[in-house]
């Protein structure tokens, strides 16, 4: 595998104008598959979520999942697309072992959604309009695992294993029109575009939208042309770009690679490239032998979908608030600064904070817990904060316990430990672990007497008027009570014991 020469991004940008295009595949989270009633579930035992239809056994016929059609229309509406009054399915034919029928049932001439747009807001607030060519319905393929060989990659594998659980999972493929004028912001725009699609489908509730599971997958097209030239350069399509960072890096890499190729006076080969996360580079993909001729024809086993205005309007009425508008509203409601709010968005914790506030916490407290202690623990456990196991109700209850004086901040962290260890609700953890603040003056007095006896010189200083030295005694008491004392009350009691005015 040869290593491609690249030029620096800045150098590339000096000479060339990039044109982008994206094909984003979104897996829908329907209960069943696109054309069969087998379950659409991720991660089960191989070949256990299949029936004869998604295995493509002899004699089977497809039947369209109504929910999948409706989800596709919802995506189209959210992308400001026109919804085709009449559309059909077509067979895209190529042989590949992950494709059970050796054709993919898709849409060709008449996609269900077409001619849309979406405004992408970049980090500095610049808004960039991306035009959508089409969004069409199709089915996912099975999963190939390449065995043997050194790398587990397709090259050099001895054999491959096929799991058809994913075969037939409903997909919506969203195709942009060529995106011109992004200039040096092309990599950033690429990332922001895919992030926006992910956010939209998640917000619609039509996809789990988890890129690491392949729910949202991006193929990125890049071409360069000299500034001022209208005609597009030859493009490459980079596949397997399955994280937001990878989208940005892949586009940046291809721009740098194209520039180097063009600089050397060679033409770009129109081809598929594969993104490699480990080397942060792309390599040439071998085209499927029949990729040049898919022999599309109308799917005879499926009948056309007719979308009436009533149906489309009913679906439109189900559209949630668009993500950009929702963000503006929430930031205003919560009173976060731009920086605070961006951190929350970047941490993917907007939903959690919204729910926590709705459950009764203040916006400040919700942010404090989610962005602080919970995020910290999630990072240690290498999971999403939302997946850690802390519910908005837990945060609200902990806050309530603090406000009532039953626990302090330090104890609250121990309560969180207990909740995460499965010991029950925060109140139950306080009870079981005996974490309540020690408010019994008798018990505190004993601890204070002990601490004063242990540090007679400090006691003497305090008696002599150096009230600020009281902190050392308070620390001793807190140590003895394992933090379960109310520090303010301890201070009062120490001063009273020593007969000093506070």
């Amino acid at each position: 595998m040869s290593t491609d020469t690249i030029v620096s991004f800045e150098e590339a940008m000096e000479k060339y104008d990039p044109v982008l295009g994206f094909e984003v595949h979104v897996e829908l989270n329907t209960k069943t598959k696109m054309f069969s009633s087998a379950p659409n579930v991720f991660g089960d035992q191989p070949n256990s979520n299949v029936n004869e239809v998604c295995l493509g056994l002899p004699g089977v016929l497809p039947v369209v999942n109504r929910k999948a059609v409706e989800s596709s229309i919802l995506i189209g509406l959210a992308l400001n697309c026109k919804i085709a009054p009449h559309c059909t399915f077509a067979r895209k034919q190529y042989f590949y072992p992950d494709t059970p029928k050796n054709f993919q049932t898709s849409q060709y001439e008449d996609p269900i959604c077409y001619d849309g747009w979406i405004d992408i807001e970049l980090a500095d607030g610049t808004v960039f309009r991306v035009e959508i060519e089409r969004a069409h319905m199709e089915e996912d393929a099975g999963k190939l695992t390449h065995m043997g060989g050194a790398t587990g990659r397709i090259q050099g594998a001895d054999f491959s294993l096929v799991d058809y659980n994913r075969s037939g999972v409903p997909l919506v493929e969203i195709v942009t029109k060529p995106i011109e004028g992004a200039g040096s912001r092309a990599p950033e725009l690429a990332k922001a575009y895919v992030a926006a699609i992910r956010e939209i489908v998640k917000n619609l509730g039509v996809s789990d939208a988890r890129m690491e599971r392949g729910n949202v997958r991006c193929d990125a097209n890049v071409s360069l042309r000299p500034y001022g030239r209208e005609k597009f350069g030859t493009r490459t399509e980079t596949k397997n770009v399955n994280s937001l960072r990878a989208v940005e890096n892949a586009v940046r890499f291809e721009i740098q690679r194209h520039a180097a190729v063009l600089d050397s006076g060679v033409a770009i080969t129109q081809e598929t490239r594969h993104w490699h996360e480990d080397t942060k580079s792309t390599t040439s993909g071998r085209p499927k032998s029949d990729a040049d001729d898919y022999r599309y024809f109308p799917e005879p086993d499926l009948v056309p979908i007719v979308t009436t205005a009533e149906w489309v309007e009913e679906l439109r009425s189900r559209l949630p608030e668009p993500p950009a508008e929702r963000r503006k509203r929430l930031q205003a409601d919560w009173g976060y600064t731009d920086l605070e709010f961006r951190d929350v968005v970047n941490a993917g914790l907007m939903d959690e904070i919204e729910e926590t506030v709705a459950a009764g916490a203040t916006a400040a407290a919700a942010r404090k817990w989610w962005m602080g202690e919970i995020a910290r623990r999630a990072k240690l456990a290498d999971v999403d904060p939302a997946a850690l196991g802390v519910t908005p109700a837990v945060v609200v209850e902990i806050e309530r316990l603090i406000a009532s004086g039953a626990i302090n901040d330090k104890l609250a962290r121990k309560v969180l430990d207990g909740v995460l260890d499965g010991e029950g609700t925060p109140a139950e953890v306080v009870e079981k672990r005996g974490l309540a603040v020690v408010s019994d003056d008798g018990a505190l007095q004993a601890a204070i007497d002990e601490a004063l006896a242990a540090q007679p010189d400090v006691a003497e200083k305090i008696r002599g008027g150096k009230v600020q030295a009281v902190g050392a005694i308070v620390g001793g008491v807190m140590k003895v009570t394992r933090g379960q004392a109310d520090a303010g009350r301890v201070r009062e009691l120490i001063l009273a014991t020593l007969g000093v005015e506070g």
Binding site: A38, N49, E52, N65, I154, F159, S160, V162, D163, Y164
Partner: protein
């Protein structure tokens, strides 16, 4: 319409994933040429204004509700497989060694 020749048949056989010997390609090219010739008239039969018919009986919006139906066990799914391993279908390498 050009008559079908041997090179075309070889390309079509590749698209259709059917290995063919030289003899077979020759024979197939001859037979197909005759057949293709006999169906030529079809392309002249209908004018541009005639719509295509893909389904003999026009139906629309045949859809099912999103409810899980029957599922095969992994064992049943693999029961007809020529080769399998680890509960999955086993196939030879996808690419030639490079």
């Amino acid at each position: 319409m050009a008559a079908i020749n041997r090179e075309q048949v070889a390309h079509l056989a590749q698209l259709a994933h059917i290995e063919m010997s030289d003899d077979e390609l020759d024979r197939m090219a001859n037979e197909l040429a005759v057949i293709v010739d006999s169906v030529k008239s079809v392309s002249e039969a209908a004018g541009a204004d005639v719509p295509a018919t893909s389904h003999p009986i026009p139906l629309t919006n045949v859809m099912r509700e999103d409810v899980v139906g029957h599922v095969l066990t992994a064992e049943e799914a693999l029961s007809g497989a020529p080769d399998s391993a680890d509960g999955r279908f086993k196939v030879p390498a996808i690419l030639e060694e490079s």
